[in-house]
């Protein structure tokens, strides 16, 4: 299964949290969790948006470990990032996943 941020969520990603504005990383994370219930493997396409902030990426992907109770290995195994236009997003997502710690 695949999901495109630009086509299935918004072409203009917003801030970290829902309370900070529309199309937040938090909202996108909820969408990811929903999709992961139906699929073992999820391809996430980051191309085609007007640009991401670091906080959106950290909340959406690092948040899976911090807030959704997923393990790092599970996130790495089940989520495949595609970002051909700007591969630095992929690097940043991988870093966010690597640095995220589960909430105590």
């Amino acid at each position: 299964m695949s999901i495109s941020v630009a086509k299935d969520f918004t072409p203009h990603p917003g801030p970290r949290l829902k309370k900070q504005g529309k199309f937040s990383g938090e909202e996108f994370r909820k969408l990811l969790v929903e999709k992961l219930l139906d699929a073992d493997l999820l391809y996430v396409d980051l191309d085609g948006t007007s640009g991401f902030g670091s906080s959106f990426l950290d909340e959406a992907f690092g948040g899976l470990i911090r807030s959704e109770g997923m393990s790092r290995d599970e996130v790495k195994k089940r989520i495949i990032i595609k970002s051909e236009m700007d591969p630095s997003y992929k690097d940043e997502v991988e870093e966010a996943i690597e640095l995220a710690r589960p909430a105590a």
Partner: protein
Amino acid sequence: MKKLSSLPDQPHNLAKPSAGEPVLIPHTIVVEPSRAEVKVILPARESGLGNISTYASAIPGTIVAVAGFAIVHFLTKRRERENRVVKLYDGLREQAEKAATTAISAWMWDAGASRVELVHQTKREIQALGISATRLEKASRTVGRRGSLRDCWNARSLWPLFSKRLINVRPSLVRLRQAATHDPFEDPDRAGETEPAKNIQIALANFTHSLDEQFRRCLG
């Protein structure tokens, strides 16, 4: 010429030519005044493009001309590719400075519609920077020099000798984006701040340093 007509067309002592050998044609020449006969056997002369001796003398010159043309063509193409890399490199420096300036403005601006627009513009400009950096990395693949023995020593491997030096500024681009858009950059309730400007400038300096360094290594 009476004797001429009495001579056999194919003397018995001439072996029949095998495939690939030139055909030998006997000729009879009558020499005056003694009327002695001299027999001269000449190989049959082939004509046309199939005969390599027709143009054999021109072959070395042609090879030199074709090789010269190929070398000039190769060097011209290489020069074009290098110019493209230089152009992308110059553009990337300008884009990075512009994105950093926009980010600093967005941080300093007080809450309001103008700041929202500056926040969006910062994200757009950093993404454009990332796209240009990807183009530069791809373009550098076509001109990058191969690694040196020193690179092999540093990497403890022979791999650098077989791989090209690319211009990859992704790590420093990630740092620049993080410095520019970290929390609470997009928080609508925050006040204008000047503190992040310092970190953005440091990240920009690291980005341009990394870019310059890799450009120098790539093009030698």
